[in-house]
Symmetry: C2
């Protein structure tokens, strides 16, 4: 069958021929519909993140997938059921994090990540997966099921952030999303739909006219151009925000988040910057403000089945135009390279392997 | 009556004669037993923190008090009942934070702090307080009731920290207290009594023999000399820790805490450094680690009635020797100055105004 992979000696994604996998005990065989592309894929392709499966010279790409159960293989799943696979798998045998349904909290060494690190991804005509890691997606969402994984990332970050404020009466009013990439915009739409926030801001560094800024506008949020209004100036120029969602991977934003927050606010950090950048911070001012105003920061990576299920609900609550605007391209296998193009007209792309 | 105060033109604490207060509606009159001294008092005395009550030329010191209800004045309290007062009061009229019992979460401008900022403290023969802000203390704890306020600070920080890890199955194993002052040592004893932690560490920068290190030893904790083992080296030299309690106010510790934490760990920051110190951090490495290992930081200041009640329970669970070792001096009014001495033999001191 066809799959999209990189090899150890050629990091350009290309179509390779690999055997159609056979489901093992507890696994189902899934016919792939669509697989999304995100920043992590670009990092994996560039060799900045992740790694090849042990002993293999290629890595099948893709971790944002939706497919149809082809062979339930005796699991609880039904043939024809639409499913989205989670990303982490136990490295060899099970471990406590997987047993309790929290692979997203497993430390390094206790997981591999399909399509990213140590395990083949979903960009293939078929894939197999333990039924435990396949989340049911309503038929109506089949075309957009590749957004369940990114939405689940936000579900987890929100869960951690709200938990961090759960010991007191926290009534957030304003939220700021750092980053107008596909994850930032999807999150902005999810925050808008939650109805928790009176005002929403999204920070980027682009000029109008721009399709991402159009989405910000259409959601009724305020676009913040970081070249004019750096993160620490957001409280003075706009208002202090109760929640910050950092999806830029720009390391200074992790620290500037503290300054953007209102008293009792929480920042969720999700970006993964390249290592090795040292810079100066107003260390004691940040420390003071953090303590005297009861602020909090949570780091968040990956997501589990519960977050996938929350993501399915969250996506169903979004208006249709959001998907029309966010998904700028879905490409058949023959044109798959366009899904990896990343220019200023691209927001979210996917490769289509089959239709339902 | 006698009170210990500083004045706008002389910041040396001294005994002043002030009128015995009359309780207003909803207030009780309390006869003061003992009032503790901590680092905040030294900052207030130095003029680095807090301020005088509006229109007054003096500030009665003291925010860690225990006393006996002298006149319940129609409140729910009983004459003779031992009580500890909380610290924050509404500035003028009530506000939402006080109404819902969370003055500790009020932002600047929404509170005054007795003995610290804008309101007289408890270092006087009598004080009045709204009955809502007086927490019952068992008679057996009357002598040590001045430790309820500092213990409540830790109760709040623990509440915030545990809340931040409440969305998943968090089973902490190792804890590190940064700072071997009285709050650090009291916290170490409280952590020991909670039985949540297999191993406890306490970081300081003193040579043996030292009375604070003796307490660390006696609690079965490991003393970490920061001159030999800086905070970021704790994981390599000892082990990564699931919980860090920062009670030094040393701004670099706020950032180094991230490096000391194990995956999924949480750091509670409580120290309040002087403003204006800028320094370099390994910004992108900290950001990466924070995200990829799901770490969290919470800032924590002040405490509310619930935390005081938790503190009463927590203190009752401590072995008697902890108090004998921690409380290095209780001084009558004639010798009150010794309570403000701060040398290497001093851990915790209090001024005694009366006995039960």
């Amino acid at each position: 069958m066809d799959a999209i992979a990189v090899t150890r000696d050629d990091r350009t994604p290309r179509v390779v021929d690999v055997p159609r996998p056979d489901p093992g005990p507890g696994e189902a065989l899934v016919r792939t519909l669509r697989v999304g592309v995100d920043g992590t894929d670009h990092e994996v392709i560039a060799g900045d993140h992740g790694g090849f499966p042990e002993g293999d010279d290629h890595l099948v790409l893709g971790h944002e997938a939706v497919g149809v159960v082809e062979d339930p293989n005796g699991t609880v799943l039904n043939a024809g059921q639409v499913v989205a696979p989670t990303v982490r798998r136990p490295p060899d045998g099970n471990n406590e994090y997987f047993r309790r349904g929290e692979p997203d909290m497993a430390p390094g060494g206790e997981y591999v990540e399909r399509g990213i690190d140590g395990a083949h991804g979903f960009m293939a005509e078929y894939f197999t997966s333990s039924a435990d890691h396949l989340v049911s997606v309503p038929d109506a969402l089949a075309d957009l099921g590749f957004l369940v994984e990114p939405a689940s990332i936000t579900e987890k970050a929100l869960e951690l952030a709200y938990a961090a404020r759960s010991s007191f009466d926290w009534t957030p009013d304003a939220a700021l999303v750092l980053g107008n990439g596909s994850l930032g915009l999807l999150t902005l739409a999810m925050l808008d739909a939650r109805d928790d926030f009176e005002s929403l801001y999204c920070l980027g560094r682009r000029d109008r006219p721009d399709p991402t800024i159009d989405v910000v506008d259409r959601l009724g949020a305020t676009y913040v151009d970081s070249r004019e209004t750096p993160v620490p100036d957001v409280p003075a120029v706009h208002e202090p925000v109760d929640f910050v969602y950092e999806a830029t991977g720009h390391a200074k934003h992790a620290f500037e988040t503290i300054e953007a927050l209102a008293p009792n606010g929480v920042g969720a950090l999700l970006g993964v910057p390249e290592a090795g950048w040292e810079f100066e911070v107003a260390g004691s001012d940040l420390h003071r403000e953090f303590v005297l105003e009861n602020k909090a920061l949570v780091g968040s990576v990956n997501s589990n089945v519960d977050h996938f299920e929350g993501a399915v609900d969250a996506l169903q609550a979004l208006p249709g135009w959001v998907f029309d605007d966010l998904v700028t391209g879905v490409y058949e296998l023959e044109a798959f390279r366009r899904a990896f193009d990343d220019d200023e007209t691209t927001i979210k792309t996917a490769v289509q392997f089959d239709t339902q």
